[in-house]
Symmetry: C2
Subunit: 335 residues, 2 copies
Amino acid sequence: MTGKMQQGVLRAAIDRRPVASDIAIIETPRPDCPEDGVLVKLAAISLDPYVGTRLRGKHMGEPAPVPMRDAIPAHGVGQIAQSRADGLKEGDWVHTTEAGWRDYAALPASAVRTIDMTGLDPADHLGPLGMPGLTAWAAMAKRAEVQPGDSVLIDAAAGAVGGTAGQIARALGASRITGIAGGPEKCAAVTGTYRFDACIDYRTEGWRDALAAALPDGLNVHLENVSMDLLTLALTHMRPYGRAVLCGLADQYHADAPPPGIPAGLIIGKRASLMGLVVYDFYDRWNEFTEFAAPLVRSGDLKIAKDSVTGWADAPALFERMLAGKHIGKAMVRL
Amino acid sequence: MTGKMQQGVLRAAIDRRPVASDIAIIETPRPDCPEDGVLVKLAAISLDPYVGTRLRGKHMGEPAPVPMRDAIPAHGVGQIAQSRADGLKEGDWVHTTEAGWRDYAALPASAVRTIDMTGLDPADHLGPLGMPGLTAWAAMAKRAEVQPGDSVLIDAAAGAVGGTAGQIARALGASRITGIAGGPEKCAAVTGTYRFDACIDYRTEGWRDALAAALPDGLNVHLENVSMDLLTLALTHMRPYGRAVLCGLADQYHADAPPPGIPAGLIIGKRASLMGLVVYDFYDRWNEFTEFAAPLVRSGDLKIAKDSVTGWADAPALFERMLAGKHIGKAMVRL
């Protein structure tokens, strides 16, 4: 298999939040299938906030992609176009964390995970069953260990991680799910599509009072991936021995100064447990997670809004919108 | 039973760290035994850091004692001198959190806990089996859930809480116990009397390097009750998924400004669990704790240096020394 393909790359090195014009879509040779590996024809790739810092070389110590050469990193779902690996055959659907912005990816067998597409869309495997879903499951089921009766507060609730987390918490028996999101459209998705009990729009005046009113009995589980300010506010509403999971601080990814610290007095006074989460640690449990979550997706009990474009031309603009938090749900490019 | 007794009181209201001269020892009438209660002749009372803030009305919302009237708060151990309560009889040894600086305390039956003095000293029930011990046990056994093989770092290791915590961690199977303390005398107690594997003197130059050298494989459990700076340092040496228990910030009890916050990036990056602890929540588990710890005290596997004076005259000076962190082990007044 030879020929050309399209690929998204950085035009030049950057040291700020990337924008659409930083990305060029170029034509490159389609790669060959590697020995003991596979060539995957991608059907959809995921746009995720961490890539914004990754492009600056500021994510988990990983180097920035080389401008005009390396595909912009992305997870993806596709079908095997050619296989030289045992147990993987042409036509198999796979998910890979090493897809990148390109039509075809040449990968070692170890980099792909076979997925079941029955009753599912490629996009499901990037959203509720993809890295955002895995993050949400790790946070709710494995770190916070949500129990029946828990009252759960989710920040960035319209996002793929937050939206999935609330629905997973519900599946684990939580009795009340409250979200925080920015703007009426996002809040409508949170209470409508994701069926949270309430959503507080932090862009409205008096929203802190509204949050207090939405939590008459406080909360005992919190998921934070945006802001120290919200984490601190959540702690003030926390019942004794509540658990908060911290899996990122999106509002700091492109900030110059370090964030303010977590107030020690609240941790002690609330007898809180605050837990850090890095989703990479759960990559080897993806099948366990999928067994739990795929039935929920098929039954309609776990769904995430999809903010997608088709083809590379509109991908940079969606990437910019996603990094600015202006998307709803899972941002992705269908190919 | 009538007559006089001595009692320690504040001379006047204060709004700073108390010193010896703030305390007056006055003569007051010996109280009568209350209906359904007991009159306890105290044998020893405990001097604890939290009383420093309690005297200023800044501890857990409790009011400051009224000057020249209310006994300074203290836990104590004594014998029942007179009983009008079912199940409690003259001569029984009891522990009470409501002893106060006085020779006799008139208490409701619910305020005393009968204790077994076999092979033990009243001071044991104020130190390793008292509130410091209960705090240490709650931190190590119930919050951090120390497991065999854990590497444990204890701040304020020469203190009653820290010293007990290290020995309890050892009893729970921890493989390495490292302490931090101020000064050679304290460090000698930590590695000698308390048998920690190492103690770092934070008053020596290069102590941060010495700490790193003492933790070649990092740590996975940390107990902090002094300083945000030490908590942050401990987090930098923490293995993934380590647990830190925060039960106080002694260096902040009399500070004007709030402490710096806990760095969120370290919590995430280390996948740490940070847990708040308030020992009050464990008062109803004191018997469970004593069952665990009393055999260790009797066998010599749990011992705490005792820094005591006998009689009220020297008590204010020891109280001042204790609040300044200049004592070693458990500070107490024997009567």
